[in-house]
Amino acid sequence: MDVLGNIWVGFQTAFQPMNLLFCFLGVLMGTLVGVLPGLGPVAAMSLLLPTTFHVSPVSAIILLAGIYYGAMYGGSTTSILVNIPGEVASVVTCLDGYQMARQGRAGPALGISALGSFMAGTLSTVGLMFLAPPLAEVALKFGPPEYFSLMTVGLTILSFLASGPMWKALVMAAFGLFLGCVGIDTVTATFRFSFNIIELSDGIGLVPVAMGLFGISEVMLNVEKSMEQSIFETKIKALLPTLKDWADSLWPIARGTVLGFFLGILPGGGAFIASFTSYALEKKLSRHPEKFGTGMIAGVAGPESANNAATGGAFIPLLSLGIPANAVMALLLGAFILHGITPGPMLIQQHPKIFWGPVASMYLGNVMLLVLNLPLIGLWVKILKVPYPILFPLILLFCLIGAYSLNNSVIDVMIMAVFGLIGYFLKKFQYEAAPLVLAFVLGPMMENSLRQSLFMSEGSLLIFFQRPISTALMGTAIVLLVFPLVPWFKKKRFIIPA
């Protein structure tokens, strides 16, 4: 098969000393960038872009791609250690990962996260190698109606996320939907709720909101407690995952990988949606769903694998069709163009090395990341032992820098502060932030897709059922909504999540 021959060429390219060096630099930087909250791969890549002018396109792509999937590894570190999502897609890891850290199990959480990410990253690279062109064509079939149906499924999943009373989750979701409305409306060019603050015209940024709701509020809550009480269980219970952890994580990793890979292919929000969906799936399939949110390792293994698999999936539309699936891919596309290569349907034929070289180096990158991250676990866990009065100002400092670095704007820092306060009160009154974040992301996408679809159908709602993929997804959403009511229909007793 031609593919194997190409894979060989790819590995030959990837093993060239220059490319090995670039791969290492990329993943190292990516990890650092991922660990620092707020600062994302986009910033790092755009800073490094000019320096890649003078190297070959293959090396440049290897470096930049390394930063991207490296950041996915690093992002989970702060989520677990201090409840601050280093990356948008790491928000879900905060839910159970941080709780594990508080119980002294930060080591296993980090370990499973790294190993799950490795397996997911590697498997998704395999998928990328063999399935890229056909999958890209499938992704094209996703138009506005399909996206709307997909988002509907996403919102129904919300009901599975809530550990507390359902009505509280719904209130949070409503709040999230409202927040998502802020900004310029694509369809009518109207400015909604921006109060003439120009920076809000593109909407409230997700990253400052997430950092505030999860990270800053947590710091505020912890600071309330007496300084003698330590925030983290000081007796670190083992650095590595136990056999039981492994057993509990294997299936979630597998499921997360598949889920993440396919969701990552779709332009627009792949990694984030993948991680939430994986979490909900694991919770549904678990034998102890009520324990999710208190430190279940499946709640870390699944989403972490999903978001790493999604990075592999995100390359597919770019490399096969020249369509960027997210902002990082758009930057990579810019890098391609700068080097005189226009990715598109001809990329694989015209420049095989540009495709197979980076793809092969993704394997290497994942291995390097594993080697980098595993020994670091000991170091990260030690950080938790730093007395909290010294730790929390540092956390705040990094958050401030991170929030500012997003758009060089003080507004983002203020948003983070405001949401930190909101998050603090939410936690006091025992509302959960996760449904808010999910609705905040899905809401605008749903609304846009709905209106675009209705334009296409000239107002007819039937369009969602006239196309095969959309019908299938809508059907799934309906089933998910109705399913919990089945026992009631059968007049069986069932346990309401309380």
Binding site: S46, L140, F142, A189, D202, P267, G322, I323, S409, M456
Partner: protein, 325 residues
């Protein structure tokens, strides 16, 4: 009664305080520039605006002897960057870029700037490329065929654009009014989304800047026409709207500007540096990779371009009733 020693000490401190900022007192004239210059870029990293401005800023900085630091301040198609730039000191240490998005925005929302009154036009260096594309399987081989079909079949043709606030939508709307066409507009958030929608067959026509380029080159799409003033160099067979008889064209110029009130000698220095930078081979390569024509415009010419955009489209937007307070 203050002792002599204390008085001397205070005098010393006063002198120190006065002397320290002396370095910045001379930020005027012959010695400009003595420190790095900030360029407020109104777009996110990685797009054609970002990469081309960076490509011209680097050689310009080398020529001036001080680096030009490009700072991304994305938001609302450069409206954020422009409103920040307006309030900066006109000492030549903060400059910015102008592009069509920033111009159009002032008709859609209440911004605190006026693109003609609040800025000093320094130099323009090129135009964005904009075009109308269809899939190669589609039945329309020329723009005229598409227009005639749309005229005869109102409400049947769906076109994607980069949003209701975009020039893409505005030109199609202007054409629709002129030719009495009724076509359906499906807005998307970016050029990539608009072109992807065409690829997937969800719309019939895509109206966007260069994002259609790889597909046109590979034969998957056909470029029907372009609505900039001159033909695109890489596609010499594609007619412009002016040639086709629709009297609509958009010169979406891209250029460097500064706050109002900059001294002519500083403007001149910047102007000459950027003009020289236009000859830089890296810069030319970047512009060519985005197919953007490299055209030099001096300050007055840039002003005329921006004025033209304001006149042409400002009233149109207000007529469409799209403005909110």
């Amino acid at each position: 009664m203050v002792s002599k020693k204390a008085a001397l000490r205070w005098l010393g401190i006063l002198l120190l305080i006065l002397v320290f900022p002396m370095g910045t007192w001379q930020t005027g004239w012959a010695q400009y520039p003595i420190k790095p210059i900030n360029l407020l870029l109104g777009f996110s990293p990685g797009g054609s605006s970002d990469l081309t401005i960076r490509a011209i800023s680097k050689p310009a900085g080398d020529i001036l002897g001080q680096p030009i630091m490009v700072v991304n301040k994305p938001g609302s198609a450069s409206a954020v960057a422009l409103s920040l730039l307006k309030n900066e000191k006109p000492d030549g240490y903060t400059i910015g870029n102008i592009a069509i998005g920033g111009v159009l925005n002032q008709y859609f929302l209440k911004v605190n700037y006026d693109t003609l009154k609040d800025f000093t036009m320094i130099m323009g260096f090129g135009y964005y490329v904009l075009g109308v594309a269809v899939l190669s399987e589609s039945p329309w081989k020329t723009m005229a065929e598409l227009v005639n079909y749309a005229k005869a079949n109102p409400g049947k043709v769906k076109f994607s654009s980069t949003g209701t606030g975009s020039i893409q939508f505005l030109v199609m709307e202007a054409l629709a009014r002129k030719e009495k066409i009724k076509w359906i507009h499906v807005p998307f958030k970016s050029g990539y989304d608009a072109v992807t929608a065409l690829l997937g067959g969800h719309v019939d026509v895509a109206v966007a800047p260069t994002e259609w380029k790889p597909y046109v080159d590979s034969g998957r799409m056909r470029l029907l026409s372009t609505y900039i003033p001159h033909r695109i160099p890489s596609y010499p067979n594609v007619p412009t709207w002016l040639e086709l008889g629709y009297n609509i064209s958009v010169s979406a110029a891209i250029g460097i500007i500064g706050p109002k009130g900059m001294s002519p000698s500083i403007v001149d220095k910047l102007h000459r540096a950027f003009k020289q930078a236009m000859d830089n081979p890296e810069f030319r390569r970047v512009m060519n990779s985005f197919d953007m024509p490299i055209v030099y415009m001096n300050g007055e010419a840039l002003y005329e371009e921006i004025k033209g955009l304001n006149d042409q489209w400002g009233k149109f937007i207000l007529d469409l009733g799209l403005r909110q307070e």
